[in-house]
């Protein structure tokens, strides 16, 4: 062998050595990446299952709200029918009393005339008989007095009944206000369902047909339907109503005095926003960059309360708290904490059973109720692998936004994680959003079958049927 050939062999050997060195340096990184992928696959499956579970149950919740609205409308109509009958009956009783009083008056006049004539005839010549007639007249007067008192009692009772029935009738305004609240919640559910649909579609890699309500026209306003147009701030609160009426009266007085400008000046914000549309809800969730991903600020903004005199919620620097959640469940009233009923209503999807641990477990465990969900599950979701270990370590600290950002942002928590991060992770920087196919392709080598535990075992277990273990990983890298 001549020298140039030796040199070429040596160069090749150097190249091979460099490749081995590079491989050795890359092993820990590859180990981390594979560990991360192994951990994130079941998590993505869980998220996908949770999204599908939530999406499939939301129409039930919406339907349940429709049923509630229908039931209250029917019940209110029945109560109004009964009230109408009672009002008519009270009118009849009052008319009868009035008629009886009139007849009694006529009879009294006739009696008075008769007694006058009897007095003329009997008083002087038939004193004993006249005394008897007078005694009879006294008894009759007593009976007349009792009848008059009874009549007054009936009239007073009828008035009281009318007043109380009227109070019941006025209380039925709650049906209209409740229907508006339910319609508001229904719209929120539909918006969340759209979001969950999109999330499930992205995770499964399959386009789902758009839900019917996305393109559906406004629902007709008829018994059994939630109102198509509603006031989100509708509130059945007598005290608040009195305050608002008083405030309205002040403005009306200013306008009637020709000083509408002064009334307008009392309000800082521009008047009236149109009824919310799907676009408004999307805007509500979207961050200003328009990339569609909601951020913690967006959630906080959702819970922010309007300042006095302002129709626009102001985002405070404080994160949403328990009071905000209570207000969400308590119909704007933060005075009553959210209760089990509120949670049951959220999870029950039409069922009459209270929400239980199973519901929560199912939410976190993708339908599996074998193992109860705990804080660990949540923390484990966000826990990052320690250096040199393929297994994520659960920290004692609860998961936060920083964990999510760090997970997707390559350790940098300065920039919030977005869809792009996920896409970049799976699609190698491609412009196509990451989907189930990407995960399948990663594990199944392009096969059309979804990736499963077998694929992971095959990857680590060299085709053996045993489950992949730490030894397998070591063997792969070592």
């Amino acid at each position: 062998m001549i020298a140039p050939q030796f040199n070429e062999v040596l160069e090749r050997l150097d190249e091979v050595r460099a490749i081995f060195i590079l491989g050795q340096r890359a092993v820990p990184f590859m180990e981390d990446v594979l560990g991360f992928l192994r951990d994130i696959t079941p998590i993505l499956d869980d998220i996908n299952a949770s999204a599908q579970f939530s999406t499939s149950n939301m129409p039930k919740a919406a339907s349940q709200l429709q049923s509630v609205s229908q039931a209250t409308e029917l019940a209110t109509t029945e109560i109004l029918n009964v009230l109408d009958q009672l009002f008519v009956r009270i009118d009849e009783v009052e008319a009868e009393v009035k008629n009886a009083t009139s007849q009694q008056g006529e009879a009294d006049d006739a009696d008075a005339e008769l007694y006058q004539r009897l007095e003329t005839l009997l008083a002087q010549d038939h004193a004993a008989l006249w005394a008897e007639v007078q005694a009879h007249q006294a008894r009759q007067n007593d009976a007349r007095q009792a009848a008059t008192e009874a009549k007054d009692t009936v009239v007073a009772f009828a008035n009281q009944m009318r007043s109380q029935l009227s109070a019941i009738m006025m209380s039925l305004q709650v049906q209209d206000i409740t229907a508006q609240k339910l319609a508001s919640v229904n719209q929120l559910i539909e918006a969340v369902q759209n979001r969950m649909d999109r999330l499930a579609s992205r995770l499964s890699g399959k386009e789902r047909p758009s839900t019917p309500h996305q393109a559906a026209p406004p629902k007709p306003s008829a018994p059994g339907f939630l109102p198509a147009v509603f006031d989100q701030a509708a509130d059945y609160n007598r005290e608040k109503s009195v305050e608002r009426q008083s405030s309205a009266d002040e403005i009306i007085n200013l306008f009637q005095a020709g000083d509408g400008a002064a009334a307008t000046a009392t309000v800082m914000q521009p008047p009236i926003t149109p009824p919310p549309s799907q676009g408004d809800i999307d805007t509500l969730f979207n961050n200003p960059s328009g990339d569609g991903a909601a951020e913690q600020d967006d959630i906080d903004a959702l819970f922010a309360t309007p300042q006095a005199g302002s129709a626009t919620p102001t985002v405070s620097n404080e994160p949403a708290g328990q009071a905000d959640i209570d207000a969400l469940f308590g119909g704007g009233s933060a005075s009553e904490p959210a209760g089990q009923n509120d949670i049951d209503a959220l999870f029950a999807g039409g069922g009459s059973e209270p929400a239980g641990q199973d519901d929560i477990d199912a939410l976190f465990a993708g339908g599996s109720v074998q193992e109860p969900a705990g804080q660990d599950d949540i923390d484990a979701l966000f826990a990052t692998p320690q250096a040199g270990s393929a297994t994520p370590t659960v920290s004692n600290e609860p998961a936060g936004q920083a964990d999510i950002d760090a997970l997707f942002g390559g350790g940098s928590a300065s920039e919030p994680a977005g869809q792009n991060d996920i896409d970049a992770l799976f699609a190698g920087g491609g412009s196509k959003p990451a989907g189930q196919d990407d995960i399948d392709a990663l594990f199944a080598g392009g096969s059309s079958e979804p990736a499963g535990q077998d694929d992971i075992d095959a990857l680590f277990g060299n085709g053996a049927s045993t489950t992949a273990s730490q030894d397998d990983i070591d063997a792969l890298f070592g």
Binding site: E73, T76, T77, L80, L83, D84, F87, R162, S166, M169, M170, S171, L172, Q173, V174, Q175, D176, I177, A179, Q180, P218, P220, S221, P223, P227, A228, V229, F230, D231, A233, A234, D235, Y236, R238, K240, S241, R244, Q245, S247, A248, I251, I252, F255, Q256, G260, A263, T264, T266, V267, Q269, P270, P271, I272, P275, G309, A311
Partner: protein, 123 residues
């Protein structure tokens, strides 16, 4: 006094109508489920006062008020807005649209009577 009660909730229409009767305005009234239907009623019959909700499909109470005020025949029809919307901005918008008075739901018969009497006084 003949009233036209406009509300998309049949329950509210009945409550308003019954309250009118209770406070002494018992000479009959008309009903409509939205602003567009109300305009059709106004074309067909004469009313002395319009009581309207704000949030309704097709044509809301504010649009109805603006349409009535722009109409040559019944531009001066007294209008009472009865609504759940109780923010100052709402009241100002309604007054700018030239409703005669404003009632916040849930209301009482006394408030309704007071507002109707005020309307009739200034009408």
């Amino acid at each position: 006094m003949k009233f036209l009660v406009v509300d998309d909730s049949p329950t509210m229409r009945r409550i308003v109508a019954n309250t009118l009767k209770e406070i002494g305005y018992d000479s009959g009234h008309g009903e409509a489920g939205d602003g567009a239907e109300a305009l059709a009623r106004l074309e067909a019959e004469t009313y002395d006062c319009l009581i309207t909700d704000w949030n309704m499909p097709n044509m809301n109470g504010l649009e109805l008020t603006q349409a009535v005020r722009a109409h040559p025949t019944y531009a001066n029809l007294p209008i009472l807005m009865v609504t759940t919307r109780g923010m100052k901005e709402d009241v100002i918008a309604a007054m700018k649209a030239r409703v005669n008075n404003y009632v916040v739901k849930p209301f009482t018969p006394d408030v309704l009577r007071d507002k109707i009497e005020t309307i009739l006084k200034y009408a």
